[in-house]
Symmetry: C2
């Protein structure tokens, strides 16, 4: 099947899904979870083929051990996956929620309700358990879905896709969730801006950038996470150290990990130095600009746009909250920034003026995450300013529709003075 | 000044605007309105130059009379403009509105609040009164703005821009609202996807399409409005005729005007025929497919993707609600569709399943408009499914920010079992 046909099938099947009564869409999701649970042997057998091939490639040096490590569908992962799909089924109904209700005039009722976006294209790298999680989110929100997985997980993805789409019948055509294979297909799909409504890349920054640069379809996600922790003059030294260490070392490869420690010039000999020492003690390689290198005895030459993704970070000395704002606005990616301070005014200025998706006071940047924010399953984290920003839950897969109910109302009757707009808010 | 410098100035000035206390941003807008009111002579003198040049070009046949007619800044237009800016100033504060509030754990408070998008680029054609209206919306919502107007209105736009930006001092740098001139600048601006966050084109479908095809910046708007009125089997004949005539003739050039009349096969000899006759009587040129041409004695050969923008429309015969859905999904632009029927089930199916921004029952498509919907000033009408859909008010110029306040909270403490997420909804 060619890419356009698959996309058109996803649109038609998505509309069929949206037409289902809520209870049937929920039952369908529980059925998907039960099928994944019941057919574990089949999934594990397919996964074993991918894992064996990956092991050979790691030996041959053509695949990194880190990527290979994300492949195995362990029993624990399958448990989490089944539980996750049941949990998505139990979430409150996202569709048809009334956001606004206005009586425009006598007997003329307007409402704005939530609706599916249409067709989503999700491109993800080796982790195969992403497939059913993403599919469950798309099914919950009434969207058609096209999935493009990594070559490393091809057998696993095919098996997951087979189990999942067989569970859709008889409610929804299997085309509601399409699995696309082959590298050439990606370029074809990215050109379908008349059928595909949103692209969600889940993978490396390089992959996200490549997609952003090669499509006119809106892209939800982020290529970079250059997050800052700012140690203000009035920071509690122990807290500054604990937050900086957590933000950097809890999971250094995460997009919400700290990449740059900003130190208020007035805190250089207090909380700032304490944070630097704590990071060094935790095994973090630090690099500063000329001033911070001299102050703290660390190497200089930091590039403040670097996303290390590792036990390494940049250090800069800045002047107060304004200096921190200027530095992050200039070098940051607008993902997540945190201030550590006991001064309420400084915290307020930072929270109000830092132009990032997530801005924190006395808390680690690692909290920037859909699960930790309580959004349930996470679609991704967006650094864009259009549609959805920051950690995105199922609402990121919704749009709205306006519905108007009248009894023969015309606009020319208003011009003729037969009635007037009243605009009564009923919501 | 080059385009990038202007865009960076707009971003910095937008941040200054966002920093202002709400009352000062409101006062600034009233000051803008008062300046426009007080400096009418200056505005009219500049406008007279454009009108004189346009009159010559109409005589020479290089400008259409329709475009020239939109140029004059009459006293009535200036009145409306001044009143409009005061009205935007009086709207409820759009910034910092709390959309969600969750206690993630003891002493760890998350909130999602509204925030400005950043930098908007608005490209508009000859109507100069659009300039202060758009600028007022951008100022109200704390956004930096770049404006590119039509050559025909160059003197008027310069005068409006001068009056407006002089009223920004001392609160905000004049760069908050940049006026860009020259055709070459548009291509430069459309390439600045790292500084400009949203493009809003206000003009012809051809202009919108050109912009959509030449930028990676998100575009809010619509290139086409191929709207449908569906006369169902159970339609009231007089109502069907009145709604079809209003939808087509009230303002045929509008994007929300009907372009295609869909007639239920079962209504062909009743309400459908009555609607056709009423349209013909109102001077509308109709064109059908083979079947409707034969049924109603009108020319055939209709192209159902045509946006006539004039006293002309297509006619098609379809089978019931499903036929109408299929036709509009295939040929429509997803803007606005209306069903005329007394049958609640048919209306319900149409309202639920028609995948358009606006879906109406027993009301004219002409209601699809921000002012008529009660949104106050209108940014535009979007047929996109990302960010904002349908008539867009000031909310279309907003994004959100997440703010988290803790007292030293770290994620590793959760892993160590020191505390657990509670996720209490406080909103």
């Amino acid at each position: 099947m060619d890419s356009r046909t698959a996309a058109l099938e996803a649109r038609a099947a998505g509309r069929a899904l949206h037409r289902l009564p809520s209870a049937r869409r929920v039952a369908l999701l529980h059925r998907v979870a039960d099928s994944l649970d019941a057919r574990r042997d089949e999934l594990r057998a397919a996964n074993a083929l991918d894992v064996a091939a990956a092991t050979e490639r790691v030996s041959a040096g053509t695949l990194t051990a880190a990527l290979a490590a994300r492949l195995p569908l362990t029993d624990a992962k399958l448990d989490a996956l089944v539980a996750g799909v049941h949990a998505i089924a139990r979430q409150p109904e996202p569709l048809g929620r009334r956001l606004r209700e206005t009586e425009l005039g006598d007997g003329l009722q307007l409402e704005q309700i939530t609706a599916p976006i249409g067709v989503l294209l999700v491109i993800f790298e080796s982790r195969p358990d992403a497939l059913p999680q993403i599919a469950a989110l798309a099914l919950r929100s009434g969207n058609g879905l096209l999935l493009k997985g990594g070559r490393e997980a091809a057998h696993s993805n095919q098996a997951l896709h087979r189990v999942l789409t067989e569970a859709l019948a008889p409610d929804v055509p299997a085309g509601a969730v399409g699995l696309i294979e082959g590298r050439a297909a990606v370029a074809e799909l990215l050109a379908l801006d008349d059928v595909i409504d949103l692209v969600i890349p889940r993978g490396s920054g390089a992959m996200v950038r490549h997609i952003q640069e090669n499509t006119r379809i809106p892209v939800l996600g982020h290529a970079e996470g250059v997050c800052h922790v700012f140690v203000h003059a009035a920071a509690d030294p122990a807290m500054a150290a604990a937050i900086a260490v957590d933000a950097k070392t809890d999971y250094p490869a995460a997009c919400n990990a700290m990449e740059t420690l900003l130190i208020d010039r007035a805190a250089a000999d207090g909380a700032g130095r304490r944070a630097v020492q704590a990071l060094l003690a935790a095994g973090v390689a630090l690099r500063g600009d000329a001033e911070s290198a001299a102050l703290f005895g660390i190497p200089d030459g930091a590039n403040f746009r670097t996303e290390y993704g590792d036990l390494a970070a940049s250090v800069a000395v800045v002047d107060g909250v304004q200096g921190a704002l200027d530095h992050a606005h200039r070098f940051g990616s607008g993902h997540t920034e945190a201030i550590v301070t006991e001064d309420a005014d400084a915290a307020g200025a930072f929270l109000d003026q830092m132009d990032s998706a997530c801005v924190f006071h006395n808390a680690s940047t690692r909290f920037a995450d859909g699960f930790r924010f309580g959004l349930g399953a996470e679609v991704g984290i967006s650094t864009g300013r259009i549609h959805a920003r920051g950690p995105v839950g199922v609402e990121g897969l919704l749009t709205t529709r306006w519905r108007l109910r009248g009894s023969g109302h015309t606009v020319s009757a208003v011009s003729r003075g037969e009635w007037e707009f009243s605009w009564k808010d009923r919501s």
